[in-house]
Amino acid sequence: MTETLVFYLFAAMTVLAALRVITARNPVQAALFLVLAFCSMAGIWLLLEAEFLAMTLILVYVGAVMVLFLFVVMMLDIDLEQLREGFWRWFPFGILLAAVMVGEMFWVLGNRLTAESGLSTVVQHAADYSNTKELGRLIYTDYVYPFELAAVLLLIAIVAAIALTLRRRKGTKTQVVSQQIAVKREDRVRLVSMPAESKIGSAKKQER
């Protein structure tokens, strides 16, 4: 009973947040709604007793990926008008893409949804059941090949990230510490010898 209630709560939050992601005008707000959608999604996964995946969703997507998104979105000064320009021209293409994705999802999930077993029932586990251990027993032994492929993917991602971002850009202001330290007094201070003003000097002499 409570579980169903919590499920509908999380599901409603996910759908609303996802809608706001695409309707919010401010990109930062859209990104934050995506965070909310991920969080409520994690709640739903928890209800399915997929503990490890739920936590990893928060840890990796909310804690890391969305931080990068926010970094990018906050600082890029996205011009909304320019973004909206080609909207109707690309609209049919977008719809087509969405339809293909929905079709694919049905193709993958549909068979199992109609079959009586599978997704419709969730196995309830005892309190000391560890979903993480279950995963651990499988990933590194039975699924070792995809696991190593994941490492290769991560390696490619590291190389690509560096290749794409690490280049000298024009107009960045950086300080060169070694130059700052190597500065000598002669570079910065110019000593000018000025003859003393004669008027004050002569006034002092007269006082004596």
Partner: protein, 118 residues
């Protein structure tokens, strides 16, 4: 298992409440006399002369991207760590291969100077 998560959900709600309540109290108890100088962003007494949301060094993005990749690596290490005794030498070797591939990436990063911060 879900029984264990009920207190956690409540705890998160209490955490949010513990954040909202002082703000509401402060708003009710504190004075409220805004003026334009008070509400302007702090700029050491100068007029703000450009938008504060400026572009910044690409290195921050790079740090964030590398963080994602290493965070994923940690996510892979967690289930491995708690079952190492059960999966034995085979599990140990498969993780060592995984780490070796990623260490190549780390060394590349280091050599390329992606970890330098001038």
């Amino acid at each position: 298992m879900l029984d264990n998560y009920f207190p956690v959900l409540l705890f998160i709600l209490v955490g949010v409440a513990a954040g909202v309540a002082p703000l509401v109290l402060g708003r009710l108890l504190g004075p409220h006399r805004p003026d334009s100088a008070k509400l302007s962003p702090y700029e050491c007494g100068f007029e703000a002369f450009e938008n504060a949301r400026m572009k910044f060094d690409v290195r921050y993005y790079l740090v964030a991207i590398l963080f994602i990749l290493f965070d994923l690596e940690i996510a892979f290490l967690f289930p491995w760590a708690i079952v190492l005794k059960e999966i034995g030498t085979f599990g140990f070797v498969s993780m060592m291969v995984f780490l070796a591939i990623l260490v190549v990436g780390f060394i590349y990063e280091w050599m390329k100077g992606a970890l330098e911060w001038e």
